[in-house]
């Protein structure tokens, strides 16, 4: 066990060091969510204000701010898996595979680093959304839930990315698969519009997507229960009190993240050179 913890910490700090040495890339990654927030957020905000407004007792800008914060976590985590493909393509992974460490420490250490990065990026977006005009309820407890939810979501998606990375050897194929994943996760999640407007079928997909649950949970705590849309998310199972729905979503996210990490660990056990 101590060997596992030590390997995880070593690989975690290695990845964090490498990422933070490449600050240019971190800024580039911030541009896209910022673009969504400022351009889409303000435009749709005006549009909804001119029409009847959102059916969720909240202005669109605040609504979409949470969506974009969550999307930042999604994109950062998915594309963080890229570094594993790099490690493999340029060989460093072989050094880790040959080390006397438990294999799962490789995806776990890197997942923690990806979560750190994703949460930091998302926090920056949160900070920038305030001057743009988002009105978020920021209390110690709402921030704590937001960070916990972002962490679980990040681990879930990094687990998927790492599993894919364990079987792909080129950055091109990895990028193609990630783009294939990122788009549906983004648009079918309630991040930029409430999922009740999705056509049937897609709506059902949205209710099982961990991204939907993460967005709804953060909205629950930062915009208020009435703006969370959790009743639609859990609507299929019939009505339950909002607080229970929130607990269920959190439990669901925790379960999915553990399962995802477990799959990634198993996939890494089978990685050969």
């Amino acid at each position: 066990m101590t060997g596992f913890v030590r390997a995880v910490t070593t690989l975690y700090w290695r990845r964090i060091r490498l990422s933070f040495r490449n600050r240019a890339m971190m800024f580039v990654r911030l541009f896209q969510p910022l673009f969504w927030l400022v351009v889409l957020g303000t435009t749709f905000n005006n549009m909804f204000a001119a029409a009847r407004g959102l059916p969720l007792q909240v202005d669109y800008l605040s609504f979409v701010a949470v969506g974009v914060m969550t999307m930042t976590v999604v994109f950062t985590s998915l594309f963080a898996g890229m570094s594993l493909v790099w490690d493999r393509e340029f060989g460093v992974l072989k050094e880790f595979l040959a080390a006397p460490i438990p294999r799962p420490s490789i995806p776990v250490g890197n997942a923690l680093a990806a979560a750190t990065e994703g949460i930091l990026q998302s926090l920056i977006i949160l900070g920038l959304s305030l001057p743009v005009g988002a009105r978020l309820l920021l209390t110690p407890s709402s921030l704590l839930v937001y960070i916990a939810v972002s962490f679980l979501l990040s681990v879930t998606l990094y687990g998927i990315a790492a599993s894919v990375a364990s079987r792909l050897t080129t950055t091109q194929s990895f990028m193609a698969v990630m783009n294939l994943l990122a788009m549906p996760l983004f648009f079918i999640s309630g991040a930029i519009y409430p999922i009740q407007f999705l056509p049937g079928g897609l709506r059902e997909f949205a209710t099982v997507s961990p991204v939907t649950h993460a967005v709804a949970l953060i909205r629950y705590h930062m915009l208020g229960p009435a703006s969370s849309n959790l009743d639609v998310v859990w609507g299929v199972l019939g009505l339950t009190p909002a607080w229970l729905e929130a607990q269920l979503s959190l439990a669901y996210l925790a379960a999915v993240s553990l399962a995802s990490l477990a799959v990634a660990s198993l996939m890494f056990r089978g990685v050969s050179i």
Partner: protein
């Protein structure tokens, strides 16, 4: 069990070690004994099975058949113990370009579970050994090919291994740097570390190795000391330079009874004969009959390259030397490519 009169034991022992990838038999029932404290050279052309053998010995690949022990531990059942006792320098350069030299070593020490204080001292020592202490704080991306290799040797030695595996340690390095790397390898041997080295450079094997095994098509075709292998050739090597159809001349010489072997390369014919003094006039006569105008005839000290040609009928480097994979590896080494992580 080593025999009781023997002072040294075998650091590597393999019996019938075999690895197949689908239908391809990469390593074919290999038997190997490597004595402790020596530099053991594993020679062969590209694709002969050298790297596959190393990958099995360092527990990265599971053998299809057979067994082997490294430092006394079974490579399959006791892989963890083997890993703790070996150092590896891979064929490709495996360093984090955007970590400093020191950080690369520190990550390795941590993964191998070295106590921090011990690691700090060892890293300092090894940076001195490979003369990189002054550049230890620089990002590895700024290192030259030779510096990268030296850092990797230092990393391989960090955990005080009983044996160091070096897979093509000087591939893609310039001649001066190669010689420099050889010096470090000899220094490592002086510290009592056994070395298992693969190479397809004959001069490298002759310079460094105490014992040699030649592998081709996954099988060991000869082994011994470099000197005994060359002696085993039982003859002299004559090199003839000339203008004309060398291929046809080669065919003609092959038909001569006194010629043991003949190859063409670099505008010259290289012959193995038992008695050069008597053979040279006959060679000259045969070549003149073929219409070759001879420029020079020289008597060469036979080397391992000749042993290899004698055994396999082809040069060590002529096959696969320009394969895309090989070129890729060399380019990677040369450019120290790594990119962002």
């Amino acid at each position: 069990m080593p025999p009781c009169w023997s002072v040294s034991r075998n650091i590597i022992e393999a019996e019938g070690l075999t690895k197949s990838f689908g239908k391809i038999l990469a390593v074919d029932h290999l038997d190997l004994q490597v004595e402790e404290g020596v530099i053991f050279g594993f020679l062969g052309p590209n694709g002969a099975g050298k790297t596959t053998t190393i990958n099995m010995l360092i527990t990265l690949l599971r053998p299809t058949e057979g067994r082997a022990t490294v430092a006394g531990y079974d490579i399959v059942r006791e892989a963890g113990k083997v890993r703790e006792r070996i150092g590896i320098v891979f064929q490709e350069s495996l360093l984090d370009n955007y970590l400093t030299g020191y950080e690369n070593l520190a990550v390795h020490a941590d993964l191998w579970g070295m106590p921090r204080s011990v690691a700090r001292r060892r890293i300092g020592e090894l940076l001195d050994l490979v003369e990189l202490r002054e550049r230890a704080g620089d990002l590895v991306i700024k290192y030259s090919g030779g510096m990268r290799r030296r850092l990797e040797i230092a990393r391989g030695l960090l955990t005080e291994p009983e044996i160091l595996f070096l897979d093509e340690p000087t591939l893609g390095l310039d001649p001066a740097t190669r010689r420099h790397v050889w010096e470090y390898i000899l220094r490592v041997k002086e510290r009592g570390v056994s070395i298992f080295l693969t190479t397809h450079y004959m001069d490298e094997a002759e310079q460094l190795c105490d014992r040699i095994a030649i592998i081709d098509h996954g099988r060991i075709i000869a082994s011994g000391t470099p000197a005994s292998l060359v002696e085993g050739l039982g003859g002299d090597v004559v090199e003839v330079r000339g203008v004309g159809d060398l291929q046809r001349a080669q065919e003609a010489l092959r038909r001569q009874g006194f010629v043991k072997n003949v190859s063409v390369g670099g505008g010259a014919l290289r012959l193995t004969v038992s008695h050069a003094e008597e053979a040279i006039p006959k060679i000259v006569r045969a070549l003149q009959q073929e219409g070759l105008s001879i420029e020079s005839v020289s008597l060469k000290r036979p080397n391992l390259e000749d042993v290899f040609i004698e055994l396999t009928g082809r040069g060590l480097r002529e096959e696969g030397a320009e394969s895309p994979i090989r070129r890729h590896v060399i380019m990677k080494r040369l450019r120290g490519l790594g990119g962002f992580h």
